[in-house]
Amino acid sequence: MADSDIKRLTEDLPPPEFETTAFTTPPPLSEATVAIVTTASLHHPDQDDFAPADTTYRVLDGERRDYVIGHWSPNFDSSGFAYDMNTVFPLDRLDELAERGVIGRVASQHMAYAGNQFDLSAMKMDSGPAGAEWLRQQGVDVVLLTPV
């Protein structure tokens, strides 16, 4: 089982094309509201599982800790997430940073998409912008993006 072999399977996939690199300057981190958006296909047990090639997102309640992984790819180690959810979804670490005043506030809700998509158009044109709008409505200034 070679991690490097599996990385080589995906490292040359064609990248998404954007004419320019959008860039937003956030408020100081100590004043910012931070959310996690993961592409690990996490969801709560009572939410719908992710379907194959699912480009929709799930809202994850930061007050809960019952996150399960719905990713379809077999090509990553999942035992680290099983042992410690912060390996993928570092909510406890963000809470600690907020307590120390390093970040302003941890968003009360977070998001999960399904990574490893071959057709990115829906995420680019539909569910991505919809998720961004939802984050803006929550007052989120900074998003930490985590893969698996």
Partner: protein, 228 residues
Amino acid sequence: MSTLAHVFEAAGIATVALGSIRKQIESTAPPRGLWCDFPLGRPLGKPGDPEFQHRVLEAAFALLDSPEPIVTEFGESIAADEEADEMVSCPLPPRHDPDAHPAVDEARGLRAAYDRGVEMTGGRIAAGRVVEADDIPAAIEAFIRIAEGTSWNEAGIPGLPMRASQDIRGYYETAMVAMVDHAPPAWAGTRWFLDATEAGKVLMAARKAMQEQDAPQPMWFYLTPGDR
């Protein structure tokens, strides 16, 4: 993931993207990206190590100070391939029912460890996608039938084969977490499942049989990690 970074930034939200594959994060060029040389599935690096995870977050959030797009690397690596050579030592249950296939008997014997694992992990990677824990032995029987010659689409696999195999792997790796007393090295649970358990051998044999039956490639290929 980089697609989301571009979309969110365009909507006025600053992002920091962690990435485990160097060429991928460099080619997709998120507005702020941190390549971390960590095993796939562990973007924060080390489970159960808050100090390490905080170092990753500190490096990630430091990118917010950059006045322009930036992709850089985290200063510490985790030697994933070497770590993946480490094995976990998990006792497999002794034979209980001589009339049952060894893989079925094994899965039944691991149920107590699985239940402890669910308790420990909150069931984060547990069975239940298409196969509940009670039905894992029956799902393994379906893959046994394929390995023994039954056509893959007549063997009674519950749901898509890849999803059923994830439930079996999740059942075993959840039991594994309960049987080791430390954070498992990356991929060690998968290696244990595929190389040391009867169910893993069945899955590998069924995968080979499906390939020889000319099953559609996604149906057999994704039964295991792609390097198999």
